[in-house]
Symmetry: C2
Subunit: 478 residues, 2 copies
């Protein structure tokens, strides 16, 4: 097989080795085939094998030992294994998950419920006092200009502050490249409407954030699920094949710490993704809403950083990091900017001014960096605690993801467990979870749940996980 | 002709008499035919003629003199005559006016421009100090709950306050009947999407607010213009005929002080409109954004007040009365509430909390009534001043509307004047106007302009109207 013809060969090889590790053909601590041997065996170049092994390192499956070769990593004992790469259906689907989603969203306001359901940040990890002080100051001083309709594109100062910080994730924007929106939700709506029509097919990760499916549903578009790895995101080979066989109008992917898997596409793979889509002129709507909440040392880049053709429409918001209630999001829509701005004017005219200016002030010198350092640490530890507790209480055979950012965990239970049943049981005990079938237009993942880990660890949360585990055991037996 | 078969016969008769008044067959001060004589002449009932004469009274064309009959009213000398009822094209059209609209909207932020273009309220007539004080207080005290995603339907307290006040315009709501939105713009978007699909035909007034046309355009729907009278709004006969000949999926009308005409459908006619549409199960999306800014003694009712079948979807906002920058609007979508709430969740998730709570507080006891009394007087006087100045400076043959509420004026210039040409000339002299062709999907009304009268009368405004008048003369000669 000629690697020129199949640029994602290394991904196939990595998946092959991953399956062998999964099946314990290679056990933890054992050596995997040498680069040279695998190259001969698979009839591929040395560099392809090296790429495959780097990917397996990224996935946390193997580790390089100097002068010795690659070894299967020892898993931390307390954590259950990771889920495998997804294998979604290959045809596009009309979507309908909205009623269940609405009922989960409505639990947000209920203080009596343990909030593992909606992916809301913890109020204790929002800079509330700081934001309050800034907003109060702005409110006191607002004049007529600040009470008028703003321009559709949004506050100039806020756009400037976002552009200034975009260098951190590899982008060189001017404020004029951006459009401010009501949260990432409006940004994704406008981007989708700018590049696709009702009836068109949109490629999404599998599993994917149910909010994406809802938006696609509300716009009468179709969703096409693409196999996605829980560590390094969308499978390029599967994507390449899908866009060859289908007319895909746009892709909608969360590239960094996606919801629900927490997967993060390695930067080198991001570049390949951008190149792949550019060859076919398919726009990528890139959701980076969790990108700032990374647990490692470096902020991952975004696909937009590799975009030479204006085809990547980057979307994000401050709802996970600063305040969901302020509804401040934004988009860098590349070559589709004028269309997105036009749609913004028609959808909601312009954004709320006082909250935009408050966020701008927070970014300018209001302690944003200090705040982010604090919450990254907190979320990393909470996700770890939650994963360990799931390992402790859930039935044998349960798997959990290893998110390196964000604050949600994906839990794959044994096939006998029906997560809708678990959802109903849990809600009766005032525990909210998000059942897995929400995350697929074909309602796959019936034995999975997504858990929000945003809330600081407490005895109440610990006990709720124990209760969930007990219910999961009961469901598994039935 | 049997009046049973044609419930809007009285409107036809009123229009016939109006034309005779227009042509000076009946001059100001002269008596129009007696009720008895007209009844015999037109072979209609006495009550039909009486209804026609009440309508002509509402339009300000005739007045009743006790024991004597009906007479053509003496026009106030300083005002040019009113425009006639519109006669739009009878087929639906795809819409495309967005570029020009975006350029007009962008002038809002420019302080060097005399703002007759966009329909923005004057900052001097917004309760800025009061709102600032309330928002600052709310900001200081916000806790975690007020920084979380709110529920999609919006703040409960705000919905309660709106429901409490809805009695003033004839509606008995509970807070649960309402959905809070980002301005009236989002409300109308969601309502349209709840009841119609791309390709469907929406009936609109002619002329109609260009924002409606933009929304219809952005949703790939079609607009069908219905003849509209500058005083009493949509022509029921024309509407009846249009919905007989076309498959109309919904109507989108501004029933009180519509933009741009300032027409207000008399309450009795509102009931007929609701009944007409109910017979065919056609939803009415009712924009009441100017309803609170009435110049007379009584708040006009809304069509929603006569809605027995949940088919009227009332939409409004506080952007004209309190603060455009807060982006607080709402809808009472009747039987389509669940669908509108669902679409709200998908479009923007939920609304900004601090501004919602500020508006709620303003309505609860923050001096809303006092404020509204003040601005009603101010806008009434400014509209009158503007109309008089247009009469003074614009070419002979110019007509202006007689709005009884709101703050826009519709100016119909002689047919030779091209308002796009006037728009460009005016903008060079830093005066913004809204050219008439924006207000029709077929780009009729090329010789008309809409003028925003929201800004307090000043020498600068006076001089700008004189300049516009001069330009209009020049355009008329070319």
């Amino acid at each position: 097989m000629n690697p020129q013809l199949d640029p994602y060969l290394y991904e196939q090889i990595a998946n092959k080795i991953a399956i062998l590790i999964e099946k314990k053909t290679f056990r933890p601590g054992e050596k995997v085939p040498s680069v040279r041997r695998l190259s001969l065996q698979e009839k591929v170049s040395i560099s392809t094998v090296l790429q495959a092994y780097v990917l397996l390192e990224d996935r946390g499956l193997i580790e390089a030992r100097p002068q010795s070769g690659y070894y299967v990593r020892l898993q931390r004992r307390s954590l259950p294994p990771e889920p495998a790469i997804s294998s979604p259906s290959l045809s596009a689907t009309s979507v309908n998950v909205s009623e269940l989603v609405a009922s989960i969203h409505d639990t947000i306001a209920r203080r009596d419920i343990v909030p593992f359901g909606a992916a809301t940040p913890s109020p204790e990890l929002l800079p509330i006092r700081k934001l309050n002080r800034i907003l109060a100051g702005i409110a006191r001083d607002s004049d007529g200009e600040e009470h008028s309709y703003g321009i559709a594109q949004g506050s100039e100062e806020l756009r400037h502050q976002i552009a200034r910080r975009a260098v951190d994730f590899g982008c060189t924007f001017s404020g004029d490249d951006l459009v401010i929106t009501f949260g990432c939700t409006e940004a994704i709506n406008l981007c989708l409407r700018a590049v696709a029509q009702p009836g068109d097919t949109i490629a999404v990760e599998s599993p994917t954030y149910y909010g994406f499916l809802q938006i696609i549903e509300s716009l009468n578009m179709k969703a096409l699920e693409i196999a996605t790895h829980p560590r390094d995101g969308i499978c390029l080979e599967a994507l390449d094949s899908a866009i060859t066989k289908n007319t895909v109008k746009a892709c909608l992917f969360a590239t960094n710490f996606n919801n629900p898997l927490g997967s993060c596409i390695p930067d080198a793979k991001k570049k390949q993704l951008v190149d792949l889509l550019a060859r076919r002129q398919i726009p990528l709507i890139e959701d980076d809403i969790y990108g700032e909440i990374y647990f490692g040392t470096d902020r991952p880049k975004v696909c937009k950083a590799f975009d030479k053709h204006g085809l990547v429409m980057l979307c994000s918001s401050f709802s996970k990091s600063l305040s969901p209630a302020y509804r401040v999001g934004w988009s860098a829509p590349g070559r589709f900017k004028d269309e997105v701005r036009r749609l913004k004017l028609m959808n909601t005219l312009s954004c709320v001014l006082p909250t935009q200016i408050t966020i701008a002030e927070m970014l300018r010198g209001g302690g944003y960096d200090h705040h982010m350092r604090r919450i990254r640490k907190a979320y990393a530890s909470q996700v770890q605690n939650m994963a360990e507790a799931v390992g402790q209480y859930f039935p044998r055979g349960t798997r959990v993801t290893r998110p390196q950012g964000g604050f949600v965990l994906w839990v794959e239970m044994p096939p006998a467990v029906d997560s809708l049943e678990l959802y109903r049981k849990a809600l009766q005990s005032k525990i909210s979870i998000a059942p897995g079938s929400l995350f697929s237009p074909k309602q796959q993942y019936r034995n999975c749940i997504r858990m929000n880990c945003a809330h600081p660890w407490s005895e109440k949360i610990h006990a709720a996980i124990a209760t969930l585990g007990r219910f999961a055991h009961e469901c598994a037996v039935l």
